[in-house]
């Protein structure tokens, strides 16, 4: 009956709460850090580019003025003047005068200046424009120099700026990835924190299911968690009250039924003991009455036994038990024909820690079942292996059909007439009791085929939890 809230990462159980918390943190981290990175990059890009543009313009004006001053003297040649200009690496200067083009660089020549710009500048208006050249992005600044009938163009390469921006972008991406990873780690930690109280609840629930009904959760002085703790404790308290009321009811019913049954049983026994003094015509009804009263008594006792076992009213009383001896004891009550008894020598010498009465109840019911539903006992064995003690009871009947092998342990189950005979003495509760006691002892019981008959197997752990 152990159960848990499934917080232990069952395989294939879907996405757990912890995973979802971690995912939320990671996604949050990713969005935030990538957003910040994008904004930072945009700002840096704009700032650096506009700064570069301003520099380029200033430099272009200075250079254009220097060119103008130099070319005022009639001997000066454009090429020489250009060569004397200070042009930073990555930039170049193109000058148009009298329809001729002069340049400081072959790579960044006239072709780098857009035609539209050439026209605009030769019409007397300065300006700048971003272009794509064969060596990468660049800014072209155009300055008309009317006093010497020249158009001055300066092409400022932006490759360096591009590199800087790339470095910034890469750093930002790296930082975003790191932040996301850190957020995911934080999420794992937070998830654990969130789930920890749920684990406590789960552990407490398991303990309670295992019978520790007095177990409660402690409040943590946490306004978010305390309602959970309180409602959990309230629920367990209500359950406990209910269980106690049920147990009390079973106990009351037991008392109410037992007193009249005592009267009936004792009277029936008195009648039976003196049956020979009765008129012969009354002997049969008296015998029937006595038989039915005894059966009724068994039925009531077994019903109560079952409800008490289900409510786990009686504690499990563990003591070292010699299972061989126990088996032989339960067999002393049988008066069957011959059958095989096999006791593993290991069982005969080593006692096992278990509840003697419950095991005895299981065995007597299995033997009774073989007798009244299986045409008698064929073989009984007890052995030990792998930490389990194992009893088997084989009968001479027709076996149990596969589809009934589960149901047969349910109360009042009557199988399809084919395989199961019923001599009318059973209560219909024997095997249900067997299953209930086996469960309380953390054992298993099942039925299988055995050469046509049925073999009931009881497996008990040697070290009960």
């Amino acid at each position: 009956m152990r159960w848990s809230l499934g917080l232990r990462g069952r395989p294939g159980a879907g996405r757990g709460l912890r995973f979802r918390v971690m995912l939320s943190f990671a996604l949050g981290g990713l969005l935030l850090s990538s957003g910040l990175a994008a904004v930072t990059y945009g700002l840096a890009d704009r700032y650096l580019v506009s700064q570069r543009e301003r520099n380029a313009q200033r430099q272009a004006f200075l250079n254009a003025r220097a060119l103008r001053d130099a070319l005022r003297s009639p001997n000066a040649s454009v090429s020489e003047t250009l060569a004397a200009l200070e042009v930073p690496t990555g930039s170049s200067v193109v000058v148009q005068r009298d329809g001729k083009w002069y340049g400081t660089s072959v790579a960044l020549g006239r072709t780098s200046v857009p035609r539209v710009m050439q026209k605009v500048v030769s019409a007397g208006t300065g300006g700048h424009q971003r272009v794509q050249t064969s060596t990468g992005p660049a800014i072209v600044v155009g300055v008309p120099v009317p006093s010497i009938q020249a158009d001055y163009f300066e092409i400022v390469g932006l490759s360096e700026l591009e590199n800087t921006l790339n470095v910034i972008r890469d750093s930002l991406l790296g930082a975003a990835a790191l932040t996301t990873f850190a957020a995911a780690l934080l999420g794992v930690w937070a998830g654990r924190r969130v789930v920890a109280p749920l684990r406590d609840v789960s552990a407490a629930a398991s303990d309670i299911a295992a019978g520790e009904i007095d177990r409660r959760l402690e409040t943590r002085n946490d306004p978010d968690l305390d309602p959970l703790v309180e409602s959990f404790n309230h629920m367990v308290g209500a359950l406990q009250v209910r269980m106690e009321r049920d147990a009390q009811f079973a106990s009351d019913v037991s008392h109410e039924l037992r007193s009249p049954l005592t009267t009936m049983l004792t009277s029936a026994d008195l009648l039976t003991a003196r049956a020979d003094e009765l008129p012969p015509r009354l002997r049969e009804p008296v015998a029937l009455l006595s038989e039915e009263v005894h059966r009724f008594e068994r039925l009531v006792s077994e019903l109560l036994e079952l409800s008490r076992a289900e409510a786990a009213v009686e504690p499990i009383e563990l003591e070292p038990v010699n299972l061989g001896e126990l088996l032989l004891h339960s067999l002393t009550l049988t008066n069957d024909q011959e059958f095989v008894v096999e006791i593993d020598p290991d069982v005969a010498t080593t006692p096992v820690l278990t509840d003697k009465r419950r095991v005895n109840r299981i065995l007597s019911n299995l033997l009774e079942n073989a007798r009244s539903h299986g045409r008698g006992i064929r073989a009984v064995t007890v052995s030990r292996a792998d930490g389990y003690a194992r009893f088997t009871v084989e009968d001479c009947g027709d076996g149990v059909p596969v589809e009934e092998r589960q149901q047969i342990f349910e109360r009042f189950f009557r199988g399809a007439a084919a395989g199961r005979r019923d001599d009318g003495s059973g209560t219909g509760l024997g095997l249900a009791l067997v299953a209930e006691h086996a469960r309380l002892l953390h054992g298993r019981v099942w039925v299988e085929d055995a050469d046509g008959g049925a073999r009931f197997v009881l497996e008990l752990p040697e070290t009960p939890a």
């Binding site: 008392h255 004792t266 004891h329 005895n360």
Partner: protein, 233 residues
């Protein structure tokens, strides 16, 4: 047993349900007992004072006082065997009955034969037949099985018949461990599945009467998982 026919043994049945009282009377008379009935605790105590029965059967649910109180009152000055007859077989009822001084318990609905067997076991003559020694000594504790007397430092200790039989059984096997099953068999006449709590409760009571320090006994030792052992003198 051999007492049949000569002097009938008397049994006091304390039970408030008239029908159960009637069938118990009939079936006990059938077994050869002389039966007296009491329908309440008060009536039981009066009847007991008027004439001592050989054995008492007490129902736990009585109109005026509980069966436990009846047990305690009877125990104050008598070692008469008491069997609690109860519709309840809960652990705490059984233990409370034994603590109150009952020698054994039977749960309803009982089979008359089973009740008769329990009574026979309790009425068996103490140590009959199988006692070899006429006296045992354990330090200043003296036991005279035939006289049914136990003395501590020369002063007689009042034991119930069951306590006395239990002590004699332990004394007879002093030095060796007796399992609860063996004690149940020899003192109460139970088969393999007797209730071990009977033994434990009686050992506890016996210790309060004969041990110098019942919480740290030096005569009746508990051997965990095995049973009890009387320390050899």
């Amino acid at each position: 047993m051999g007492d049949h026919g000569v002097v009938k043994q008397s049994v006091l049945v304390v039970e408030d349900d008239a029908r159960i009282r009637a069938v118990m009377r009939m079936s006990l008379e059938e077994e050869g007992y002389e039966v007296r009935e009491a329908e309440s605790g008060e009536a039981a105590l009066r009847s007991f004072e008027a004439r001592l029965p050989d054995i008492v059967l007490v129902d736990l649910m009585l109109p005026d006082m509980s069966g436990f109180e009846v047990c305690r009152s009877l125990r104050q000055n008598s070692g008469v065997p008491i069997v609690v007859v109860s519709a309840r077989a809960d652990t705490h009822d059984v233990v409370a009955g034994l603590e109150a001084g009952a020698d054994d318990y039977v749960t309803k609905p009982f089979v008359a034969k089973e009740l008769a067997a329990r009574m026979r076991a309790l009425l068996r003559r103490v140590g009959a037949g199988d006692v070899r020694e006429s006296e045992y000594r354990f330090g200043d504790l003296e036991i005279e099985p035939d006289a049914g007397v136990v003395r501590r430092d020369g002063t007689e200790v009042a034991l119930t018949k069951t306590e006395f039989r239990l002590l004699c059984e332990l004394a007879r096997h002093a030095g060796s461990v007796l399992s609860r099953e063996q004690l149940l068999d020899r003192v109460w006449g139970y088969d393999y599945l007797g209730d071990g709590r009977l033994v434990d409760a009686h050992v506890r009571r016996l210790r309060t009467k004969i041990e110098r320090d019942p919480s740290d006994p030096d005569l009746i030792m508990t051997i965990r998982g095995l049973g009890y052992r009387m320390t050899k003198p």
